[in-house]
């Protein structure tokens, strides 16, 4: 199929991956790019493009029928909250089937194997087990729904990227913020597998699935195919800061010993949050933003004030949040989700994507990181 001549609907278009997909589709000469937009106020990046912004909500099926219009390809990057992952995906699949789309590309995640994928999950045929994490389990459930539609005739493909990075990625912006505030440590010498997936490599893979019949009903891991560790990833960012930051290390044993302390840290952070909330500056900032944002902040304050068991129940319901980090004996102890994310030893294999799709990652780590640095400078994350 020559996808360059088709109309394409992109979900999750106001997000990091979806936004870049819209740019690349337009650059590729696609005659009509339709970007599904639920939160209009987040559309600043894609509103620059001469594409169509169509209002719709993955949780409201009637809006999707209208949004899909004459699109013959759907690239589904949409996420929503954890509860919307499965239902929203099913709603989009149903609308796509009704509209007779020729390709449905589902952007899943390697995290279907958990935040710390266990050894043995290197290839796509590894059975998926429940992880107990709402985000991971819901993304796995969404894959099953996609494949069910695929077996009933909708031409679907599933891509499982891992750490999707590049300009605009929160992996880089959050890391820069953390580096600046000295909230970064090499966990176990930074040996964890990072499985970088440059956003443009991922989009190359999307385009390949759209033109390749062998992609139908198939699942593909997509990474940069390099054995980049978290140490490499963090160090590459630290080097951008002048003078280069020296980052300490922390071992798993030290993290485990510090864990009981995190409860105390949480109490401390609640007190600090309350102090900030009472401050004049904070109230001034609140005055500058619409009421809904203020409500969200209040809700976050409420969540952090809950007892741990209630908080965990909410976490399971709404997906991964970042619990607080801690300091022990002058050492920075990263938060548990960061520890889990950076602790895998698994490098996912892209052999299947290479073999079946002809996928070859074009953006190498060094070149990609140079572009990230350029973008970070442009966007004022770096002086």
């Amino acid at each position: 199929m020559n996808w360059r001549q088709e109309s394409v609907l992109v979900t999750g278009a106001t997000g990091f991956i979806g936004g870049r997909v819209c740019e690349r589709l337009w650059q590729a000469g696609v005659p009509q790019v339709r970007a599904l937009v639920r939160s209009t106020h987040k559309a600043a990046r894609i509103a620059r493009l001469p594409i169509e912004l169509v209002a719709g909500d993955l949780m409201q099926p009637e809006t999707l029928r209208q949004a899909i219009g004459n699109a013959k390809i759907v690239i589904h990057c949409g996420l929503g909250n954890a509860g919307a992952i499965v239902r929203g995906t099913e709603n989009m699949l149903a609308a796509a089937r009704e509209a007779g789309v020729k390709r449905f590309v589902h952007v899943s995640t390697a995290a279907v194997y958990g935040i710390t994928p266990p050894p043995g999950s290197e290839t796509e045929d590894t059975p998926i087990r429940k992880t107990g994490d709402a985000y991971c389990d819901n993304k796995a459930a969404a894959e099953r729904v996609v494949l069910r539609y695929g077996h009933r005739g909708l031409p679907v493909s599933i891509l499982r990227p891992s750490i999707v990075w590049g300009p605009y990625s929160a992996w880089s912006t959050r890391l820069m913020d953390d580096l600046r505030t000295r909230r970064v440590a090499y966990i176990d010498d930074g040996r964890g597998a990072c499985n970088t997936t440059h956003v443009d490599n991922l989009i190359d893979a999307m385009f390949l699935t759209m033109e390749n019949g062998r992609a139908l009903n198939q699942v593909f891991f997509i990474t940069d195919g390099e054995t980049i560790t978290w140490g490499d990833f963090i160090r590459a960012h630290a080097r951008m800061i002048n003078p280069e930051l020296i980052i300490g290390g922390v071992s798993r044993e030290e993290i485990d010993r510090a864990l009981p302390k995190t409860v105390g840290m949480l109490a401390g952070s609640i007190k600090a949050t309350a102090r900030v909330a009472r401050s004049k500056e904070f109230r001034h900032i609140l005055m500058q933003i619409p009421a809904t944002e203020a409500v969200m902040k209040r809700a976050w304050g409420w969540v952090t004030s809950l007892p741990p068991e209630k908080r965990d129940r909410l976490r399971a319901r709404f997906g991964v949040q970042r619990p607080p980090a801690a300091h022990k004996n002058g050492k920075y102890i990263p938060d548990p989700v960061t520890v889990a994310t950076q602790s895998t030893t698994v490098f996912f294999s892209i052999a299947k994507a290479r073999r079946e799709l002809g996928y070859e990652p074009r953006i190498k780590f060094r070149e990609g990181m140079q572009m990230v640095e350029q973008w970070l400078r442009y966007s004022a994350y770096l002086d």
């Binding site: 740019e23 650059q27 350029q374 004022a380």
Partner: protein, 345 residues
């Protein structure tokens, strides 16, 4: 003019909810007659929530014989037609910025107000912050030495929850970041540093006309002499969100989110020092309240408002010139990755 002033607010979006209603609701010289919104339930729910004793009206034209003045807080593309209708009906207008989406419309509207001898004020609320007079005073009195250049940045992830979502429609908004917050910045720098005599403009619009980032380099030639400045606006990421004015003896800083003070930075005895300037008798109330006071004062006394239509025309003319002569901000990270066979690089 009989007091209290009979007033209606047109448009019940975010700015009306957050700023105009609080400024108006307990004003001793104002009788709020109606909130107007084509979505009547939006107007009614705002009235109920705030406990206001005014009417909810769907069509502003119903009100034109019954009010002395309106605050026009409708989406940008509706400003001009509604302003004209109001002025033709003998009603004074305080219009949210931008006055219109073209300089020609803004000019015609301003001329109409002059012919009818009515007040047409433009909602540039930043003019009513204390920093406006403090910085002017500091420069005039030589606290900075000779002023040669400045850097003005405002940016953050766009999060303005407009009720109508018109911000990302070129025909309704008239442009992107430059028309939105850029209007305030341009208005302020002309007010402080004098007329702009040269400019160079870049933005990141790929073809829809809704730029998220804009960089405007300007030269002023006014009473303070020649001053160069850079204005940078972003809707996608946080910038320094301050104006920094460089003088030969000191720098002056005005923070966007703390606009009632000016901080002077200088080196004394080799040590960097800073001091905060603030008015001993600062005016109370929000900038929107002070803006409303100025509007009422102009109506009562027949004086020019702080920001009249001609000042808005001047800003709109510059913005139109910027769009007409724009260059694209280079984004090598977005272009390097594109395949050779891909068409529109």
């Amino acid at each position: 003019m009989k007091m209290p002033l009979r007033l209606a607010i047109l448009g019940c979006g975010a700015i009306t909810r957050g700023e105009h209603v609080p400024a108006v609701s307990d004003h001793p010289d104002v009788q709020l007659i109606a909130l107007v919104d084509s979505d009547l339930s939006r107007a009614q729910s705002l009235i109920d929530r705030r406990g206001l004793s005014c009417q909810a009206v769907a069509d502003y034209r119903e009100l034109l014989g019954r009010v002395d003045a309106v605050i026009n807080a409708l989406p940008n593309h509706l400003h001009d037609a509604v302003n004209r209708d109001s002025l033709l009906a003998g009603v004074h207008v305080l219009c949210e910025k931008p006055l219109a989406i073209s300089a020609a419309e803004a000019r015609a509207c301003t001329e109409l107000a002059a012919q009818r001898k009515l007040i047409l004020a433009v909602g540039m609320n930043r003019r009513f912050f204390e920093s406006r007079s403090l910085l002017a005073l500091a420069m005039r009195e030589g606290l900075l030495g000779t002023v040669r250049e400045y850097d003005f940045q405002y940016g953050g992830a766009f999060d303005w929850r407009s009720a109508s979502g018109f911000y990302f429609d070129r025909a309704k908004a008239g442009g992107g970041a430059l028309v939105d917050f850029g209007v305030h910045m341009i208005d302020s720098v002309i007010d402080w540093f004098g007329p702009i005599t040269a400019f160079d403009y870049q933005d990141d619009d790929w073809g829809s006309g809704i730029e998220a980032n804009a960089i405007l380099d300007v030269r002023h030639e006014g009473q303070l002499g020649e001053i160069k400045g850079r204005l940078r606006i972003s809707r996608t990421f946080a910038l320094k969100n301050r104006l920094l004015v460089h003088g030969t003896q000191a720098d002056a800083e005005v923070a966007v989110h703390n606009p009632d003070v000016v901080v002077l930075h200088r080196t004394v005895g080799g040590k960097p020092l800073s001091e905060t300037l603030r008015h001993e008798n600062a005016e109370s109330g929000s900038s929107y309240r002070r803006q409303l006071d100025n509007f009422i004062h102009s109506i009562v006394n027949g004086t020019n408002p702080e920001v009249d239509g001609w000042q808005a025309v001047r800003v709109m003319e510059l913005i139109e010139n910027c769009y007409a002569h724009k260059r694209r901000i280079p984004e090598p990270w977005a272009e390097n990755a594109v395949e050779r066979c891909e068409a529109r690089v």
